[in-house]
């Protein structure tokens, strides 16, 4: 069994949804970030590239891979949750918001 297979099994164990749903959501997430991967600016201190990130031993690289999995699992959890819980405003709430919307601008 390869390391990738092991990581996939770990990841599946963390998921709360079925495998087909997970694969679909994973694809959706990938599609989202595919749109932004080339355009993502890392100019600010929070997003600045670290020149040391890819240096180090194999053990360190493995540790980073696990962390990436953890990040993805969280992003997947949030996206899943948002997809399943989105609601629309009811008609009164919508009318209250959009009538004279101009007056609400900050």
């Amino acid at each position: 069994m390869t390391i990738t297979d092991q990581r996939q099994i770990e990841f599946q164990a963390r998921g709360s949804s079925g495998s087909s749903w997970r694969a679909t959501t994973a694809l959706s997430i990938a599609l989202i970030f595919a749109q932004y991967a080339n355009g993502l600016h890392l100019d600010t201190a929070e997003r600045r590239p670290s020149p040391t990130l890819i240096q180090g031993t194999a053990a360190r690289a493995e540790s980073l891979r696990i962390t990436e999995l953890d990040l993805f699992a969280q992003i997947n959890r949030i996206f899943d949750g948002l997809l399943k819980t989105q609601v629309d405003l009811d008609s009164d709430a919508r009318r209250a918001l959009y009538e004279n919307l101009w007056d609400l601008y900050a």
Partner: protein
Amino acid sequence: MADPDLFDQIKLFLPKYLSPDQQHRLFAELSTFPENRTFYLSRSNLLGELLQGDGWRGFVAINFHSGDRRTISGMVISNSCDISPANMGSLPVNIVFAPLIELAKYVERLRGVGKTSEQIENLLRDIRRQRVSSMFFLPECPGVIPECIVLLDDLHAHPLRDFLDREKSALFTLNQYAFYLFLMKLSIHFSRFQEGAERFDSAA
């Protein structure tokens, strides 16, 4: 089991340039959604960049019905690269933005149309948890903005050259966690694979 390459493909689109400390911080922030309301970088990190998800005062909104125009505060919807002055050259570019709306003013209107306190509280809970599909919630940025919403179906365009030249001020910059939330909300609002329309020519 899913395609063995899927995991490796997914990895390509995760943040690659974060330090281990930044990765741990991002993980901690993501893992506490939806309670986590830490959305903004500190002002020392603003650096005057014009990035997707930023809040700025200085956008000009035009009222469709009256033709009036007003300077307002708004959130950048355009992709960061598309509005980078470095990429603009001599070509005309528009910056797409969504006006900021103070949540408290919306609550006043809800009271005015007869919503009960319980109904309002339930709606506020949904808004703060990013459950309302047509809006993105912005928590208070102390000293800068109160709790606000932006409507993803109320977008305006401002010529970038004009925006760069006019008097304006940066309000906030989303941190990595909030930026990802914003991308997810944009994606869910604008991109739905299951739209329910069969886009095929009729059989002969």
